[in-house]
C-alpha cells in the first residue's frame, strides 16, 4: 500500500494527481460563524466560485478543504479537529475573517480559540467579513501553492521606516472610566405621559413595588419568596410570555438582581407593555425559584443565566452546561471574572 501511495504521489502519475487536486478543492460545510454569509455569496451566482473548481459539499469524508469562517469557539474547536481528522489526505485549511487570525473584534472573549492552534492552516484571509473576491483569491492562492509547492503572500507592501521623534514617548491613557463602587438602581422613576400605565401600575401595586421607568416599561419589585405568586398574578392579568431573563451582578453589595421581562401576546392593550419583575438574592448562595413551569418561554433563558452566573433556578429541570463548553471558565459573566484589558503598546 505504501509503495502504491508513493507511486501515485511521486511517480509518473504525480503531476496528474497534483493537477486534479488543484482543480477540485472541495470545501466542507463548516460554517463556523458569521463570515458564512460572504462564503455563500462567493459560491452563489454573483461570484460563482465553482468556476475555479471549488464547491461546498456536505460530508467531511468526501472533501479536502476546510474554510474556517471566522470565530472558533471552545465548543467548535473539537468539531473542527474531528472534521479535519475525518477528511482524506491531502487536505488544506483556509481561515477567513479577522476572528480566525487573532480574535478580531472578539480578541479578549472568554470563549475563543485560535484555529491555527487546532489545525494546520495554509492561508489566512483577513477582513471582517472579507469580501467574496478576497475569499476566491485565497482559494486561487492555494492552487498556486499546489503548483509551486510553497505558500506565498498574495500581496506584499513596501515597508516604510517610521521617522524618529514621531513615536509618542508617553503612552496615552485608556479612555475608559470605570466606577469603583457602582450603585445599581434598576427602577428609576420617570414622569411620562402614559395614562394606561398609571392605571396598570395601581393594579400592580397589590403585587409589589411598581414604578414606571419609561413609556411602556414598568419595574415591579418583589421579595424572593413572593416571586412565584407574583408571576401567577401577572399571568392572571393577561401576561403570557417572558422576553428576557437577566441577572445583574453587584459584588460590592453582595447581591444578584434577577429580572424577568414579561409581556403579553394575547391581550391587545398589554402588547407593548414590558413588566420587569425583579428581585434580589444573596451572592453567596444564589438560589431562586424557576418560572419555567408558569412561563415555558423562560426555560432556555434561565438555563443560560445558570451557565453565565451560577444562579441556581430551583425547579428548572436542566442541570449542567447548556450554552458554554465543558472547558469554558466557570461563571464568566460575574464581575470578578476579568477579561484581559486592552493596552497601548510602546516601542
Amino acid at each position: 500500500m505504501e509503495e502504491f501511495t508513493k507511486f501515485v504521489r511521486g511517480g509518473i502519475l504525480g503531476p496528474i494527481k497534483k493537477w486534479g487536486t488543484k482543480w477540485s478543492l472541495w470545501p466542507v460545510h463548516l460554517v463556523t460563524a458569521c463570515c458564512g454569509a460572504e462564503l455563500a455569496h462567493a459560491f452563489a451566482c454573483g461570484y460563482d466560485g465553482e468556476r475555479i473548481g471549488a464547491l461546498n459539499y456536505g460530508i467531511a469524508r468526501q472533501t479536502n478543504l476546510i474554510i474556517v469562517e471566522g470565530a472558533i469557539t471552545r465548543k467548535m474547536a473539537r468539531v473542527l479537529r474531528i472534521t479535519w481528522e475525518q477528511m482524506p489526505d491531502p487536505k488544506f485549511v483556509i481561515v477567513m475573517g479577522a476572528c480566525g487570525l487573532n480574535g478580531g473584534i472578539f480578541w479578549n472573549g472568554y470563549n475563543l480559540v485560535k484555529p491555527s492552534e487546532v489545525v494546520p492552516v495554509e492561508f489566512f484571509i483577513p477582513g471582517c467579513p472579507p469580501t467574496p473576491e478576497a475569499l476566491l483569491r485565497g482559494i486561487r492562492q492555494l492552487q498556486i501553492k499546489l503548483d509551486k509547492g510553497v505558500a506565498e503572500n498574495s500581496l506584499t507592501f513596501s515597508e516604510i521606516a517610521l521617522e524618529k521623534g514621531k513615536k509618542p514617548k508617553v503612552l496615552p491613557v485608556s479612555p475608559k472610566v470605570v466606577s469603583n463602587a457602582p450603585s445599581i438602581v434598576v427602577a428609576v422613576k420617570k414622569a411620562v405621559d402614559w395614562e394606561f400605565g398609571k392605571q396598570l401600575c395601581d393594579r400592580l401595586k397589590a403585587i409589589g413595588r411598581a414604578v414606571i421607568t419609561a413609556k411602556n416599561r414598568i419595574a415591579l419589585k418583589v421579595e424572593v419568596e413572593n416571586l412565584r405568586s407574583a408571576a401567577m398574578k401577572l399571568k392572571d392579568l393577561g401576561f403570557d410570555h417572558v422576553k428576557s431573563v437577566n441577572v445583574i451582578d453587584v459584588p460590592n453589595e453582595g447581591k444578584f438582581i434577577v429580572e424577568f421581562l414579561i409581556s403579553s401576546y394575547s391581550v391587545k392593550e398589554l402588547m407593548p407593555v414590558l413588566v420587569n419583575l425583579y428581585t434580589e438574592i444573596s451572592r453567596k448562595e444564589p438560589k431562586i425559584s424557576s418560572l419555567s413551569d408558569i412561563f415555558p418561554s423562560a426555560d432556555y433563558l434561565e438555563r443560560e443565566m445558570q451557565d453565565f452566573f451560577g444562579v441556581n433556578f430551583v425547579g428548572n429541570p436542566w442541570k449542567g452546561k447548556f450554552i458554554l463548553a465543558p472547558d469554558t471558565p466557570e461563571f464568566p459573566l460575574r464581575k470578578d471574572f476579568k477579561l484581559e484589558a486592552e493596552s497601548y503598546v510602546g516601542d
Partner: protein, 407 residues
Amino acid sequence: MEEIKIEVPVEPPKELETLFLPIPKDYVEDTYRKDDFLILVGPQHPGSGHMRLIVRVKGDIIQEVIPDPGYVHRSMEKLAENRLYIQNIPLVERPAIMDSANFNLGYVRAIESAMDIEVPERAKFLRTILAELCRIGTHLYDAAILAVFIGHTTGFMYPFGIRELICEALARMTGARFTSSFIIPGGVRRDVEEKTLRWVYDATFAIEKRLKSFERIFIKNPTTIARLRDVGVLSKEEAIRFGVVGPFLRASGVEYDTRIVEPYEAYEEVTWDIVTADEGDGYARFLVRVNEVSQSLGIIRQCITSMPEGRYVSEQICDDVKGNFFDKFGNLVLPAGEYTTLTEAARGTLLFTIVSDGESNVPYRVRIVTPGWLYLRGFMESLKGERLADLQAIYGSFGYFPPEADR
C-alpha cells in the same frame, strides 16, 4: 396496532463519553432500553452556522429534541461590558451580519432613550430604509438556506442573486456590504446623496421583478409546497406559550409586530400591512416572510419619495460627525438606570437592555436577547411528532441562524 414490549439487553456504546453529550447518562440508557434511537444531527451539517440537535426517535417519528447550542457563542455580553458605549456598535451587529442595521438600531435606540436624544426626521427615514433593506436581505438569505436544506440548488442561487442588489445598495449608502455600523446615537454617520437614494429606489423594482421569477421557480414550486405544507405546525396557543417571535409568531395567527405595537423611527409615517397567516406550518412561516419582503419594498419606496430635508445627526450631539467622532462620542455616560428597547429585527423581536451606573463610560451590563434564542423553544416543540425526514424542512422554515441565537 398494539405495541409489543421487549426487554432488549443492549448497552450504550462506550464511545458515548467522548461525544460530550450534555444530557444525563441515564437518559441515554433509558432510550436504549425502550428501543428508541438517539440521533445526533450536527454540529457539522449543511446548514448555516452550527448547532447540535439530539433527536430521540421511535421508528422515524421524533419523540423529543434536545438542543445543544453554543457552538458560536462569542461572549458578546461580557465583551460589551468592557468597551466604550460607542465601541459596542460594531460588536452588537456581529450576531447576524446580514441584519446589521436592525441590530445597530436596537442598541442605539437604548442609548438614545437613556439620554433623551431626539433624532432628526431625515435620519429616521434613512435608518428605516437601512433596516428594511437588511430585513429583505435576511429573508432572502433564509429562503436560500431553506432551499439548500430541502435540496433545491436553484432555489439557493436566485435569492443570492437578488441579495447582490441589496449588498450593492448597502455598499452605496454606507460603504460596507454587510457590517456597516452606520447608525450612531443621534442619527446616522453620513448624509446619503439624492443620486444614491434614486439608485436604491430603482433597485427595489429590479428586486421585485426578480422575485417574480423566484416565485415561479421556488415559492410556488409543487415540491417546495409538498415538503413544507403541514409540517412543524405550531398552533396559536403553543406559539404564545413558548414565546415564539417575529414572522414565525405571525404565521401562527398572532398579530404582533414591534413596529406596530411600539412604533419607532419612521414606521408610523408610512403605510404598510402586517402580514399574518393562520396555518402555523412550515409553508406559512415561509410565505409570511416572502410577503414581508414586498411590504418592505413598499416601505423603502415611500421613505425615499417622502424623504424630508434636514439634518442627519441630532444637534444635541454635534453639528457634523466628520472629524470629531471620537471627541463627541468617546465619552458618553448614560444616566443611572435600566433601559430596554424592543426592535423588530428580520427574524423577530430583538431586545437590548443596558444597565448603567451613571459614572462609568462603559455599560455595567448589556443584555442581548436575539430572536433566534427566543424562538428556539418553539422550534424544538414544533419538531415533536414529525418524521425525521422533515427535520431539515422545519429547520429551514424557521431560518434558525446559530450565530444570531448564540451571540
